[in-house]
């Protein structure tokens, strides 16, 4: 537990919640990152540009923060590309099939008390735990 960072975790979480609340109040939309990314490739009129804006803003926000606090990020080195490809593929396939990820289901859906989102979040947390157990403890891959 020595890596536990409660204050930055909680304050970062508050900002994420603020962002999702702004999106709902002004634009009337759910902040679901997997849906926004997919939506870039399958453009619907009136739904493309705001998605691009949000995602570019998110990339910029992270750059801004790391520019001021470079010591807060330690890049992972030499993580096998094959695992990145496999992981990315599963995440892309799974979020499209299940209609959402950590943001859409986990943060927005639960706040709307959507049963679908509550169940999806419990399931992906559990399968994420199983996956880490296999990768880290059975296969011994820690980088």
């Amino acid at each position: 537990m020595e890596n536990f960072t409660p204050y930055t975790a909680l304050s970062g979480g508050l900002l994420i919640g603020l962002s999702a609340s702004i999106m709902l109040l002004f634009n009337g939309r759910i902040t679901g990152i997997s849906g926004m990314l997919t939506g870039l490739l399958t453009p619907i009129k009136g739904e493309w540009f705001w998605r691009l804006s949000f995602l570019l803003g998110m990339i910029a926000g992270a750059i801004i923060f790391i520019t001021f606090f470079p010591e807060s990020f330690v890049p992972r080195k030499n993580f096998p590309s094959i695992l990145l490809i496999l992981a990315g593929f599963l995440v892309g396939f799974g979020t499209r099939l299940g209609n959402g990820c950590t943001s859409g289901h986990g943060i927005c859906g639960i706040a709307r008390f959507s049963l679908r989102s509550i169940i999806a979040t419990i399931v992906f947390m559990l399968s994420g735990g199983v996956s880490v157990f296999i990768i880290r403890h059975l296969l011994g891959i820690t980088l």
């Binding site: 537990m1 890596n3 536990f4 960072t5 409660p6 979480g13 508050l14 919640g17 603020l18 962002s19 999702a20 609340s21 702004i22 999106m23 709902l24 109040l25 002004f26 634009n27 009337g28 990152i33 997997s34 990314l37 490739l41 705001w50 804006s53 803003g57 998110m58 990339i59 926000g61 992270a62 807060s72 990020f73 330690v74 890049p75 590309s81 490809i85 496999l86 992981a87 990315g88 593929f89 599963l90 995440v91 396939f93 799974g94 499209r96 099939l97 299940g98 990820c101 709307r112 959507s114 679908r116 169940i119 999806a120 399931v123 992906f124 559990l126 399968s127 994420g128 199983v130 990768i135």
Partner: protein, 142 residues
């Protein structure tokens, strides 16, 4: 245009939140999911903090008839629990646990740890595309 500016601002806030909470650090995420190892509960507080805001704010916002910059709310309407939801969540979780990336943090770290992020996102878009393709060829009438 107004919607895009709001989205840009909200995106920046979201990105700062991800970086501040270190969710763009995959090992931080993996250590949350690693309950039998050296467990780091930080991610629970990130979600807790976010939900604290969204549960309260969404409750107030949902009392409105329409959002400020659009004529109506565009929200998911489905309530059924079906097997694609469960299988999708299982597959997403497995992928999440392999690399410690979910879509938000993976994209947010594009400007910081480009190569890992890029490889992941391209694979993710391929997975998403294949899912759609698979559904389309199995249900030609939709």
């Amino acid at each position: 245009m107004k919607q895009a500016l709001v989205a840009l601002f909200a995106g920046i806030v979201f990105g700062i939140g991800l970086a501040l909470s270190q969710m763009i650090n995959p090992n931080k995420v993996l250590s949350f999911l690693d309950v039998t190892g050296n467990w780091d509960p930080s991610l629970a507080l990130v979600m807790g903090g976010a939900l604290l805001v969204t549960i309260i704010a969404f409750n107030f916002i949902s009392k409105r008839n329409r959002p400020l910059f659009d004529d109506k709310f565009r929200l998911p309407t489905r309530t059924d629990i079906d097997s694609p939801l469960i299988i999708g969540a299982i597959l997403f979780g497995l992928g999440w646990g392999i690399a410690g990336f979910c879509p938000g943090p993976a994209l947010a770290s594009l400007g910081i740890n480009f190569l890992d992020s890029f490889i992941f996102i391209v694979s993710m878009l391929a997975g998403s595309w294949l899912q759609k393709y698979y559904t389309t060829i199995n249900k030609p009438n939709e």
